[in-house]
């Protein structure tokens, strides 16, 4: 119990020594295996669903699900649902990013702030935040405010801890030299601390973004209404299994695109960093 400082990011995709965990995995299997794997899974799904061993209600064929997605895209609320879910996820993610960065810088620079928030974070991080959903609904209602609040509550932790770890890991020589050359705290933060901590901060963002998406979906499931999660829970209530599986496929694709997008952004933002250079 001696050390209450938050232990490193523990959510999905825990980085070890600043490297993303998938890299080891990536290098073991060529990227082409990735797409072959996707195709294999889809073929296996189609064949198994059509084999008659399982009722189409429990597992509709992939082609049926695709047709359903197509129909929803043409005439249904697919894009409205995607747009709403992404809007909630990104809004919550952005707010969590701002709060997380501010709090992280504050905690890394001020003993008093660190003293106050250390126990809050070390207790809050491993908590299943979704438990607070009924409380947040009681306070803020069943609309976007409470969904976005839940997202912020969940996504802020990996960003705070990554920011603290990043800033604490910066070479002291850099900070001393900046100070020596007359940099004020504000300059220090924006020109030395944040850029120096950027690799770890981005790792925190990479962990937080999928969390934001999934919390958006789960809160939509719990509260109903428009959005990918709400559509899935409707499909379940009405026992429309193709629509339900369509939701799974849509969420997987969106989740994949978000993760890829963040990885690309990381590479762009870190092109000056040794990490970006070695990766080529």
């Amino acid at each position: 119990m001696a050390d209450v400082t938050p232990t490193p990011l523990m959510a999905v995709g825990e980085p070890t020594e600043g490297r993303l965990p998938s890299r080891r995995f990536d290098s073991a299997f060529a990227l082409s295996g990735h797409w072959i794997g996707v195709i294999l899974i889809l073929i296996a799904w189609e064949v198994f669903a059509r084999s008659g061993r399982v009722s189409p209600f429990l597992l509709p064929a992939f082609s049926t699900v695709l047709a359903r997605i197509g129909a929803d895209a043409m005439a249904g609320p697919l894009f409205l649902n995607i747009g709403l879910t992404l809007y909630r996820a990104f809004l919550g993610f952005a707010i969590a990013g701002l709060i997380g960065l501010a709090l992280g810088v504050g905690m890394a620079r001020s003993r008093a702030i660190a003293w106050f928030f250390d126990p809050v974070i070390s207790i809050g991080f491993p908590m299943p935040k979704i438990t607070f959903l009924p409380v947040i609904i009681l306070w803020l209602g069943v609309y976007d405010v409470s969904k976005v609040t839940m997202i912020v509550l969940d996504a802020v932790f990996p960003i705070v801890t990554a920011t603290i770890a990043g800033i604490r890991g910066i070479d002291h020589q850099l900070i001393w030299s900046a100070r020596n050359m007359g940099a004020r705290e504000r300059h220090l933060i924006f020109h030395v601390l944040l850029p120096g901590a950027l690799p770890q901060i981005l790792t925190g963002f990479q962990v937080a973004l999928p969390i934001a998406l999934i919390v958006a979906i789960v809160t939509e499931m719990a509260m109903g209404g428009y959005g990918l999660g709400g559509a899935m829970i409707d499909a379940w209530r009405l026992a429309e299994s193709p629509k339900l599986f369509a939701g799974i496929v849509e969420i997987s694709i969106i989740g994949y695109l978000l993760v890829r997008g963040m990885a690309l952004l990381r590479r762009r933002l870190l092109h000056w960093h040794s990490e970006g250079r070695t990766r080529g």
Binding site: M1, V4, M10, A11, V12, G13, E14, P21, S22, R24, F25, A28, F29, G33, H34, I36, G37, V38, L40, I41, L58, W115, F116, F117, D118, P119, V120, I123, P126, M127, P128, I130, T131, F132, L133, P134, V135, I137, L138, W139, P210, I214, I217, V218, M221, G229, M232, I233, A235, W236, A239, S241, L244, G247, I248, I251, S252, G255, Y256, V259
Partner: protein, 250 residues
Amino acid sequence: MKRGALLLFKFLPLLILAVLWEIVCRAGLVSSLVLPPLSAVIEAGIDLMTSGDLWTNGEVSLYRVAAGLLLAITLGGALGFAMAWWRPLNSLISPFVEILYPMPKSALIPVTALWLGFGDGSKILLIFLGCMLPVTLGAFNGARGTDEALLWSARSMGAGPLRVLRDVVFPSALPELMNGIRTAIALSLILLVSSELIVARQGFGYLIGTLGSDGAYDAMFAVVLIVASLGFIADRLHLAASGWVLRWRM
């Protein structure tokens, strides 16, 4: 004594927040319908414990988590070791792992409910599916990272494959395996509570939901705090267990 004082100092902020909570409610700054005072929440929590509602629902939830996690750790861990051990299996399964790993498992809540209904089965399946891959990945990466020199020396000293697995590969994979299990524990509670909030007729999440819709907010807050602290306690227990399991390391 000094250690106790230090601990008190570290956790003082939480105490301050608790006192603040009580004061804000007592002073009438917020309605007790919005935030019941902490003392009322604690009282309601004790009532729930003595009336047995907490235990009947808690038992169900703990059973679901334990069963799902146990399945995920044994099967997921075994799969990870097997993939590291045998290359063909690795190239067969790793694409699947890589695709399914980032897929948000909470999206499966309605699917498992469609397959197995409102009861224990759907929660256990969900927790198993959600928690297996972090363990697999931990075991795989850990086993992959085994020092080759250790493998060679063990073999040259006449150790059979099973001995190598037990005495060399398993211990050196243990740190990463424990890390994977840590992620799995955190995920399991999230999946449990969210699935119980959305589709269940028993369990912690269900209890929170019904208390909330009955307007028993002090009791609802009590259960929320209990479940949330379970996450913290589980993490601390895991930390202690890791320290014990890895005590042979420097």
